[in-house]
């Protein structure tokens, strides 16, 4: 998973975001009030228009502030009752049936089964909940108005604000209950769908000779194939068994000796359902001559997310990590990385199962003293996450080494002579540098800041799963608020269409397009400048002739871009609330990310509620 945007700490984000929000809300309010005043002034004159708008504002403030929680709860109860008496619970039944059928088609033997299962349940939940929320919220109030049941409510001492808020809360509660049920069913489905074990018998193992040629108890072999994969098995010279990681997971293994017979018990999968807590660092580069560079080189890749380092040179990608403590990492640093391998030559590809890898080197450096540990060379794994462990005891820089699975089979004497301690020699004030180099000439590694992280202790997968559902919940609440708002002044079907249309603009790729549109093109200017270029047949790059026409066009373009910027701020972006990828790829959703998303959601719901209130208040319910 590519994490392009860093998660900003919540408090750091809040100040700037709050200001932006107030500015956008103030701008929208000013525009709306101006339009309303103009309409009133044209009809009744400016004095009456001013008085009417003023009275409406005051009455609106009173209505919004004097909301009765008891009435809101009563109206929410009505919405909940209506939903359940109309059998919304059927949605959970539909979901269960969907999962039952999906069980036939989802392949636990695929390359990334956890990702597949989790993506499926989260995506299907999202679609079902969004659809349900859309229809519930957009059709309820128009039905009440059409059936005139709202007459018996509005003739009670009920404020329009309470009606709108009651609906939003009520449908949100309904969605929450359904979502909780679907989350529980999904969790069971995922865990049971991925559960498997392997079998291992003595015949599957073969002895491994000790380095000194003497006999040893070390063995290696592989388990049987289940779900389209097996695991390499290693038993060290002391008889301790270990299963290698494959497809992102491993299993616990124990040995039962009963006389001559030895039974190998392999437990359930471990590490398949994870919630990794990555600690990201900041990235900088060294060029081919070893000098500091802002970025690496670009070998011609259109996507500039990654920068590249050349092999066989002093070029390096350097990550600086902070907050590294011995309490967190007593044994060493577990690293994970997803770097890109850019080959200028492929090498011998005649055997597709043995395409030669590209070697890289990893080393730890002290950012203050410059002391560095030995460089571990490794074969870079492409298109997958590569894991390495940098032990606490590091050999000094002069000694070369290579990561190998067989290293742990034979216990070696303590490497204390001249050994460096990670925290005493290489970490300074919690900071450490990790250098990545590409070793062979004419090959390159591509790296971005999020491509390497230190893996702290994993969070709970189930808690993370729930957090993923929290993201869906936020999307659901947003849909409910939008639907209720539209339903205050549109008929049912039109409100559904309007809500659906707004949701389309909330799709991440559409939101991104709107933002790019608001930022303006790199060449050619905005719509007015482009019009001049078209009419005068001037290309996109040449400067226009200075003059009144050009000035007016550029200023008009600024106004248009300002408007587009305002619109793109107003439209929600569902990408901000979607944590499905995090859960599917096994990354923990941080508290900061949740807080930011929740605050964003609330920042949208509040103006939608206020807008819905004003629409309902100014509407003749009996018309």
């Amino acid at each position: 998973m590519v994490v392009e945007a860093k998660v900003i700490p919540f408090l750091q984000w809040l100040a700037g975001a709050t200001l932006d929000w107030f500015l956008v809300v103030a701008a929208l309010t000013a525009i709306v009030l101006t339009l309303v005043w103009l309409a009133g002034a044209l009809r009744h004159g400016p004095a009456i228009a001013t008085s009417t708008v003023g009275r409406a504002l005051v009455a609106g403030l009173v209505d919004l502030v004097a909301i009765s929680p008891k009435r809101v709860v009563a109206l929410s109860w009505l919405a909940i009752k209506e939903s359940f008496r109309r059998r919304v619970i059927v949605v959970v039944g539909v979901f269960i049936v969907l999962l039952l059928f999906a069980g036939w088609f989802l392949d636990p033997g695929s390359m990334y089964p956890a990702r597949l299962y989790i993506s499926f349940v989260l995506t299907s939940t999202t679609y079902l909940m969004i659809l349900l929320s859309l229809f519930l919220s957009a059709l309820s109030l128009p039905a009440d108005i059409r059936n005139r049941t709202l007459h018996t409510v509005t003739t009670k001492p009920v404020r329009p604000s309470e009606i709108v808020l009651g609906r939003i809360l009520g449908f949100s509660v309904v969605g929450t209950i359904l979502l909780a049920a679907m989350a529980a069913v999904s969790c069971v489905f995922v865990e049971r769908g991925l559960a498997h074990t392997h079998a291992l018998v003595e015949e599957d193992l073969s002895p491994v000779a000790a380095p000194d040629g003497m006999a040893s108890r070390a063995k290696k072999g592989r388990t049987d194939k289940q779900n389209n994969h097996f695991h390499e098995v290693y038993i060290d010279s002391k008889g301790n068994p270990r299963l290698a990681t494959n497809r992102g997971h491993t299993h616990a293994i124990s040995i039962d000796k009963n006389g001559e017979k030895t039974a190998y018990n392999i437990g359930r999968e471990r590490g398949m359902l994870t919630a990794k807590v990555p600690i990201y660092g900041s990235l900088r580069f060294k060029d081919r001559n070893g000098k500091d560079a802002e970025r690496g080189i670009n070998p011609g890749d259109e996507w500039t997310y990654r920068s590249h380092i050349q092999g066989g040179t002093m070029s390096a990608a350097i990550w600086t990590f902070e907050g590294i403590t011995p309490e967190q990492f007593p044994e060493g640093l577990p690293l994970e990385m997803t770097i890109e391998v850019f080959r200028t030559y492929k090498g011998d590809t005649s055997d597709p199962d043995n395409i030669p890898g590209v070697m890289g080197g990893l080393s730890l450096h002290n950012p203050h003293t410059g002391v560095r540990g030995k460089e571990y060379s490794f074969t870079a794994k492409e298109f997958t996450t590569d894991s390495h462990f940098m032990p606490r005891k590091q050999e000094p820089a002069e000694q070369d080494s290579t990561f190998s699975e067989d290293d742990d089979l034979f216990s070696s004497k303590e490497k204390d002579d001249g050994a460096l301690d990670l925290f005493e020699d290489l970490v300074h004030d919690g900071k450490v540098e990790i250098w990545l180099k590409c070793l062979p000439n004419s090959q390159l590694f591509g790296a971005a800041e999020a491509d390497m992280y230190i893996r702290a202790e994993d969070a709970s997968f189930r808690a993370n799963f729930v957090k993923g559902y929290l993201g869906i919940w936020l999307q659901m609440v947003l849909v409910v608020a939008i639907g209720v708002m539209f339903s205050t002044f549109l008929s049912g079907p039109v409100a559904v269409l309007a809500t659906a249309g707004t949701l389309l603009t909330a799709l991440p790729m559409v939101s991104k397009f709107m933002v790019e549109l608001a930022q303006g093109p790199k060449y050619g200017g905005g719509p007015f400048e482009s019009l001049i270029r078209l009419l005068t047949q001037t290309n996109m790059v040449s400067k226009l002739e200075p003059g009144l026409r050009t000035t007016v066009a550029k200023e008009a373009d600024k106004v248009v871009q300002g408007g587009l910027s305002l619109i793109s701020s107003v439209l929600p972006n569902f990408g901000n609330y979607g944590f499905s990828d995090y859960v599917a790829y096994g990354f923990n959703i941080s508290g900061d990310a949740l807080l930011v998303a929740s605050t964003r959601g609330f920042a949208f719901v509040l103006p939608l509620f206020i807008a819905g209130y004003f629409f309902l208040k100014t509407r003749e319910v009996a018309r």
Partner: protein, 308 residues
């Protein structure tokens, strides 16, 4: 001191316009009327005369095009006035997925009634409208009359000072109509003010103190029922057990005084009274065929004598 005027409209006008602002229908034209505390006020008129529009303007369901509508001294669009009013719409627009108890409980919560008070009130009202046996059934299973009763109950949930009834007897059988009228009179006797809107003249005549007659959105007549209905140039005499000779003698007396006998004979009762009497007697004597009109007439006469 509370004002005597509960409802007041000043030049109240409502014009329905289309989307483009063009006038479509002038539903109400400059209506001026007042409803006093403690009276039953009837709003009469044929279909489309503006009765329901007036009620909706008073309730804030519609906004006036011009003029003003005041209820309890407050503007009709003021939500606060709804604390003291009850409304029975033309059709009982209730949530059909709720049962009777839930319906009344819900409306009671909208008045922020404390739970125990609300529970008791709900129980009393269900008992009053005679639906205790069906209180747990959803309203979608109710007949029209039953729904109407629950509609009335919700209008009274907050023990309002002012009750607006739009076609209150619609959908009720004769017994229900009688009970509704009795209830309206009882509410008036308790000091409540009732604004009653109907096109069934007989119902209005039986209960209203004052009436306003609307036609095509305009007020055509306003006044007390008894004075509006009095036929001043005629005298009505009723007597029981008169032999034919006595009737002849009365005719001669009238002639002697310069009057003219328009008709003399047995008066007729109303179909409502006949029906109610038959039902009452059937309940008292099940399995027997009951007496008809004469019995009803006698009962009506006895009632009139009793009231004098």
């Amino acid at each position: 001191m509370q004002s005597d005027i509960v409802i007041e409209t000043r030049n109240l006008t409502k014009v329905y316009r289309d989307f483009w602002g063009r006038q479509k229908v002038r539903a109400l034209k400059a209506l001026d009327l007042e409803v006093h505390r403690g009276e039953i006020f009837g709003l009469l008129g044929p279909n489309g005369s503006g009765k329901t529009t007036t009620i909706k303007l008073l309730l804030g369901l519609l906004f006036p095009t011009s003029g003003q509508a005041l209820v309890m001294g407050k503007d009709a669009t003021d939500v606060g006035k709804n604390e003291r009013i009850g409304y029975l719409p033309e059709e009982s627009y209730l949530y059909r997925f709720l049962n009777a108890e839930e319906t009344l409980n819900f409306y009671g919560r909208l008045f922020k009634m404390p739970r125990l008070v609300r529970r008791q009130r709900v129980s009393e009202l269900i008992e009053m409208v005679g639906l205790d046996w069906a209180k747990r059934r959803q309203l979608k299973e109710y007949s029209k009359g039953m729904t109407r009763r629950i509609g009335l109950a919700q209008a009274l949930i907050n023990d309002p000072e002012l009750i607006l009834l739009d076609e209150p007897t619609t959908g009720l059988d004769p017994i229900g109509i009688r009970e509704m009228k009795d209830l309206i009179l009882k509410l008036r006797d308790e000091g409540k003010t009732i604004l009653l809107c109907s096109h069934l003249l007989a119902d209005v005549q039986d209960v209203c103190d004052r009436i306003a007659v609307l036609y095509q959105g305009e007020l055509k007549e306003l006044g007390r029922v008894d004075s509006l209905l009095k036929v001043r140039d005629m005298t009505e005499l009723r007597a029981s057990s008169l032999p034919p000779e006595a009737m002849k003698e009365i005719e001669e007396v009238i002639k002697r005084h310069g009057g003219e006998t328009i008709s003399m004979g047995n008066p007729t009762t109303t179909l409502e009274d006949l029906f109610l009497n038959i039902i009452r007697q059937s309940e008292e004597h099940p399995g027997r065929r009951v007496r008809g009109a004469s019995s009803a007439k006698k009962s009506e006469a006895e009632k009139e004598v009793g009231s004098e």
